[in-house]
């Protein structure tokens, strides 16, 4: 009885939310010129794609989102797929897509494909870091739940492991350099490849509050 009431309530809330939410902007669903639709890789809901390594965009702080597009445009962040798309995006496209994705619910936490010992190692790094090597915990800057701290620190909880690995490796090797104050480079270059995989696997297994861990 109680669970039925809860289901009905939840259903009503979801319906109300989808009615209240504005239709996704055209840049997200249809794209524009050279800028293919954001949704074709990241989904309308911003869930990305685990296999392809397309990142989760849901709940990215708009300022962080806009900075990434600006950096792709300026060449301070480079990606063969995103660079031409960013070049074709207008200020309005950036603003509307940033707002759209900031408003999407973070996807449900993923399953843990990895060895529990690997997950445990990643969790340890995320929560406690390795201060003896001057590695601060991920959660110091990305919040205790990994859901980010606006405006500069994006959520990392629930991010696809392949994407987290690729970015940590890019900072480590110097292929990505658009982190403020070299904060990510500083961390990534002190992590071993195994640690990068462990922390990425752990982060992929945690999600938004209430979404089973």
């Amino acid at each position: 009885m109680r669970s039925t009431t809860r289901l009905i309530l939840m259903g009503t809330m979801v319906m109300a939310a989808s009615i209240a939410a504005a239709a996704p902007p055209a840049i997200v669903t249809q794209g524009k010129g050279a800028a293919i639709a954001c949704a074709s890789c990241h989904g309308v809901d911003g869930a990305g794609n685990a296999q392809a390594g397309f990142p989760v965009l849901a709940q990215l702080p708009p300022a962080h989102f806009a900075k990434q597009i600006a950096d792709f445009k300026a060449g301070t962040r480079v990606n063969p797929i995103m660079t031409p798309i960013a070049m074709a995006m207008s200020a309005e496209d950036i603003e509307s897509s940033a707002r759209h994705y900031a408003g999407q619910a973070r996807p449900k936490a993923g399953a843990a494909p990895a060895d529990p010992a690997v997950i445990a190692r990643g969790k340890q790094l995320a929560i406690n870091g390795a201060w003896d090597r001057d590695v601060p915990p991920c959660f110091k800057c990305h919040a205790v739940d990994g859901l980010g701290i606006e405006p500069a620190f994006p959520p990392i909880a629930g991010q696809h492991a392949a994407y987290t690995v690729s970015q940590l490796q890019a900072w480590k090797t110097g292929a990505r350099t658009n982190d403020p104050q070299t904060l990510m480079k500083t961390v990534a270059e002190k992590l071993t490849d195994d640690e990068i995989h462990a922390v990425a696997d752990y982060l992929a297994t945690i999600g938004t509050p209430g979404e089973g861990k």
Binding site: N128, D132, D134, P136, K140, C141, V144, Q181, V187, K190
Partner: protein, 333 residues
């Protein structure tokens, strides 16, 4: 033309030397690498507190864990005793484990001790009460309270195997030499904007996420008060240089650390609980030339300069006068 280029190069070289000198020495691994066999200079091993996974699963372990929780999330676990937005672990990084961040294992073994600040023998309990009164701008938990017992238990557990009465490497905060130039608020502001504002906000207000402070406020009503050790420019410079920004400890020069510490501590914060009704009287009674309580940055800079001159003069007369520094952990106020 050639002359000005000469000056420029000279200036660059000097700049490089100065900033090189200001930094802590690099780990002694690369220099003149004598074949990997005989390590020439090995840094003394730092004390390692027990791993968190070693907290025993019994009544004692429960107290350790409660102490750790209070320490890390003081806002929640000791909220009745806190009057601002801070947590203990904001200034004692790595949950009180990190060297040069006033680690608990090094503090624990130095008490009881006489402290000028209180004019009495402080035990570790009364020392912790001081943290609540000043750094937490709150109401100290009673000596026999559940919170105090848990905090002391956490300290004790972290200090397992540490020698009693010995000032350990990494104790307290780094002592950063007085810089060449008078600390300057305007330079400090620029350093703040480039290094600190991303986490602590444009106005030192910290950043909240989902209810609590994710990054602590550095001044204003929710920060530490005018009686906390961190309001001292020298103490703050030491903390900042060793630990800030996260992962980038040791990258600010001595000058930059002092400048930004001065900038941070040139702002308003909650009143000193020892306030007597007169700012001047409270300043004269409890504050020295290392802080901006009741004085302008200009007045402080002048005081520092005067002190530096006096120190230079004293050094000329008697070179090694500073070697008598005791092991007292306590700064004067």
């Amino acid at each position: 033309m050639n002359e000005s280029l000469g000056y420029l190069l000279c200036g660059l070289a000097l700049g490089a030397m100065v900033s090189g000198c200001d930094r802590p020495p690099p780990p002694a691994t690369t220099e003149a690498a004598p074949a990997a066999t005989a390590p020439v200079a090995v840094a003394p091993a730092r004390f390692a507190p027990p791993a968190e996974s070693d907290i025993p699963e019994n009544e004692f372990g429960e107290a350790v864990l409660l102490g750790k929780n209070i320490f890390v999330n003081t806002q929640q676990y000791a909220k009745d005793f806190v009057g601002n937005g801070m947590n203990c672990a904001n200034c004692h990084l790595d949950n009180g484990r990190k060297a040069d961040s006033a680690p608990l294992w090094a503090a624990y073994v130095l008490y009881p001790a006489y402290r000028q600040k209180t004019g009495q023998i402080d035990t570790i309990q009364s020392r912790i009460q001081g943290c609540f009164l000043y750094s937490m701008n709150g109401k100290p938990p009673a000596l026999d309270s559940k919170e105090m017992t848990a905090l002391v238990t956490y300290h004790y557990w972290l200090a397992k195997g540490a020698p009693t009465g010995v000032k350990m490497t990494g104790q307290g905060y780094l002592k950063v030499a007085k810089p060449a130039q008078k600390p300057d608020v305007a330079r400090g502001r620029a350093i703040y904007e480039n290094n600190c504002a991303i986490c602590h906000g444009a106005n030192g207000e910290g950043i909240k996420a989902r209810g609590g402070y994710a990054f602590p406020p550095l001044w204003g009503k929710d920060s530490f008060n005018w009686g906390a050790g961190m309001h001292r420019v020298d103490t703050a410079a030491g903390f900042i240089q060793a630990n800030m920004p996260y992962g980038l400890g040791g990258t600010l020069s001595d000058q930059e650390a002092w400048d930004v510490a001065l900038f941070m501590n040139s702002h308003e914060r909650p009143q000193d609980p020892r306030f007597s009704g007169s700012v001047a009287q409270t300043r004269d009674q409890h504050h020295d030339e290392n802080c901006l309580y009741g004085r302008t940055p200009e007045e402080l800079a002048a005081a520092l300069e005067k002190q530096a001159e006096a120190a230079t003069a004293a050094e000329k007369i008697k070179p090694a006068a500073e070697q008598l520094e005791g092991i007292s952990p306590a700064v004067s106020h």
